[in-house]
């Protein structure tokens, strides 16, 4: 019969070795010597206590834990996700969301034809769409937003570049319609 495996020797140390293998252990001097060695060193290890620190240490540890917690940044947000990042991202997301909601769902061919018309004469739908965007953005113009740090430099450019070709087309149409209305 084969000698005890490391797993079985640990089971033997724990006193849970299966019956058949226990019979081998009883008969095998080599395995018994190995078990005795392991048990002896484990016993040595068990005798070793951790040196007791000063009685004052425990209060000191509690105080240090409290200090550590106090110095934790508030909230569970990751360190890099601060308001300086969140605000411009949120503002850009609002604009994009507003534009996406404002874009009428229609056939691209119709949209293309509407673009031609819109340059000349903005329809009532365009006003409604701008209304949605204006409500979302409020009185904040791009310069003010950039100056106050709400929108970082290049955020609007990146937001426009993130639009699909169709959305960019619609944005152009809306802007031209607004320009035409401002001129009149």
């Amino acid at each position: 019969m084969t000698h005890l495996t490391p797993d079985e020797l640990i089971d033997a140390v724990d006193g849970v070795l299966a019956g058949e293998r226990s019979a081998h252990l009883a008969a095998c001097e080599e395995c018994r010597a190995q078990l005795d060695d392991l048990s002896a060193v484990l016993n040595d290890a068990r005798q070793v206590a951790v040196p007791e620190p000063s009685p004052l240490f425990w209060q000191h540890l509690s105080a240090r834990v409290n200090e550590g917690i106090e110095s934790e940044p508030a909230g569970a947000w990751p360190g890099w996700l601060r308001w300086q990042v969140l605000l411009p991202l949120g503002a850009a997301a609002m604009v994009i969301l507003g534009l996406m909601m404002a874009v009428p769902k229609q056939d691209p061919r119709i949209a293309s034809a509407a673009y031609e018309d819109a340059v000349v004469e903005p329809g009532p739908a365009a006003d409604d769409n701008w209304g949605v965007v204006a409500t979302l953005v409020g009185d904040l113009d791009l310069d003010t937003a950039a100056a106050t740090g709400v929108i970082g430099p290049g955020v609007a450019d990146r937001a426009v570049l993130a639009l699909t070709a169709e959305e960019q087309l619609e944005l152009t149409r809306l802007l031209q319609a607004e320009l035409a209305r401002a001129k009149s």
Binding site: P6, D7, L9, I10, D11, V13, D37, L38, A40, V41, L42, D44, A45, R46, Q47, V48, A49, V50, P51, P53, F57, W58, L61, S62, R64, V65, N66, G68, I69, E72, A76
Partner: protein, 208 residues
């Protein structure tokens, strides 16, 4: 039990998140670990203070056995409790709070030892302790020297073997609990324990 369900069954837990008077503190002290963890997860620093008070010795001892010196052990124990505070919402109450805290302490130590070899406590300090012994000073000194040698040998074991030996020998954790703590299998834990004991035996043989 999850925290949400714990809060549902223990509505008082949400009510004890504000600073407390003596009577409320006594009431907190009477709570079991799961209830305290629930209250702490809801924001009660007083509940967490009691958790720290109950478990600081055991957590410190895990860290000491890992690092074999007081300075690192106290730093790591502090770090482990701060991590525990941060992670309380992840404590599901499926394991004992002490087991969960050991897991955090072990992982904190493993992170530390991956960047730093454990230092050893100077023998002088144990010699000083021997002077205080009731039994004969010489016998006590020999015992302390042996203990220092064993601690040094344990501190020199590879990380997983050291963690396994510490949790099994000094914290009576089952192989399964150790496997859960270290993120390994029961077979790997038994193998690590076997090799830890063998390496410890070899290291102690070379000691003068």
């Amino acid at each position: 039990m999850t925290h949400d369900s714990a809060l549902a069954f223990r509505p008082w837990a949400a009510a004890i998140v504000t600073p407390i008077d003596d009577a409320a503190e006594k009431a907190l002290r009477d709570l079991d670990d799961v209830a305290l963890a629930t209250a702490a997860a809801a924001g009660s620093r007083d509940a967490f203070d009691i958790i720290v008070e109950r478990h600081r010795r055991a957590v410190y001892q895990v860290c000491f056995r890992f690092m074999n010196n007081h300075e690192d052990a106290s730093d790591l124990a502090q770090d482990a409790f701060v991590r525990a505070w941060r992670g309380l919402k992840n404590f599901k109450g499926q394991a004992a709070l002490s087991t969960w805290l050991y897991r955090i302490a072990v992982n904190t130590c493993l992170n530390k030892v991956s960047t730093k070899r454990p230092a050893t406590e100077p023998i002088e300090s144990t010699e000083q302790m021997a002077d205080l012994a009731i039994e004969g000073a010489q016998q006590q000194m020999l015992r302390e020297e042996r203990a220092a040698a064993v601690r040094k040998a344990i501190a020199g074991l590879p990380e997983k073997q050291r963690a396994t030996l510490i949790l099994r020998t000094y914290h009576d954790m089952s192989h399964q609990q150790i496997a859960d703590t270290l993120g390994s299998s029961v077979g790997a834990v038994k193998a690590n324990f076997f090799h830890a004991l063998n390496n410890l035996k070899k290291a102690l043989r070379t000691e003068p």
